[in-house]
């Protein structure tokens, strides 16, 4: 069974953990080639940010560029595709508690 979701509408959505606590907003989707040599791309990671005022006003890019320039990476979470439940696209949920999911985003 397949369903379509609009990335542009997903961006900025608040993600909650299984207990319903806010985790962060979706800021970026990282896609990679599905199999080497194929033209098909699949989403591997969702990047969440624990949004502040800057992000609320200027969106993801502003926040990222500012932090990149003036304070390294933003505090955020990288969620593997399998950990995000998108069955209700308006209310994305984590399948596991944050503590069980990979450590906070490393500096690139």
């Amino acid at each position: 069974m397949t369903r379509e979701i609009r990335v542009d509408l997903l961006e900025g959505r608040m993600v909650r953990d299984p207990a319903g606590r806010r985790v962060g907003r979706i800021r970026e989707l990282i896609a990679e080639v599905a199999h080497p040599g194929s033209g098909e791309y699949v989403v591997r990671e969702f990047h969440l940010s624990t949004g502040g005022l800057v992000e609320a006003l200027g969106g993801a890019h502003l926040a990222r560029v500012l932090t990149q320039r003036f304070g390294r990476r933003p505090t955020g979470l990288v969620i593997g595709w399998q950990d995000l439940d998108l069955s209700d696209a308006a209310r994305p949920r984590l399948r596991r508690p944050v503590a069980e999911i990979a450590p906070p985003a490393k500096e690139r």
């Binding site: 542009d8 961006e11 896609a31 069955s87």
Partner: protein, 126 residues
């Protein structure tokens, strides 16, 4: 190409066709959720109504209201993501813009307005 940042690199990027004709921006982007498999990047969307939905419900209602008054339908162009050839300062698509819906308004204005005014027509540079 290694990992693509879909929001940063693709969303809102300038779309150009094979001949580098500008054909709108990546107003929307669709992924396909599949059971047990990572979501597939399905298509790039171009169209005012897509843009309006992103701005908010009020803008969406406003734009569909205007379209209804004009008896026009919103033209959404859906380009399969496989057609994306290069992601750089522009997103280059492997197709001919003329065969899509993306240039409908451009063509309509050309046929009904521009070509009727002296000096408007012509393919060469000025």
């Amino acid at each position: 190409m290694k990992g693509i940042c879909l929001v940063h690199d693709v969303l809102d990027a300038q779309l150009v066709d094979r001949t580098r004709q500008k054909m709108g921006r990546a107003d929307g982007l669709v992924i396909e959720i599949r059971d047990g498999q990572p979501p597939r990047v399905a298509a790039v969307l171009v169209g005012g109504s897509i843009l309006a939905e992103r701005v908010g419900r009020w803008m969406s209602a406003l734009s569909s209201g205007v379209l209804r008054i004009l008896h026009a339908e919103s033209a959404v162009t859906r380009v399969p993501f496989e057609r994306v050839r290069v992601i750089g300062s522009c997103v280059e698509l492997d197709l001919d813009a003329g065969t899509t819906n993306a240039l409908r308004t451009e063509k309509w204005l050309d046929d009904h307005v521009v070509c009727r005014i002296p000096g408007g027509a012509g393919a060469e540079r000025k």
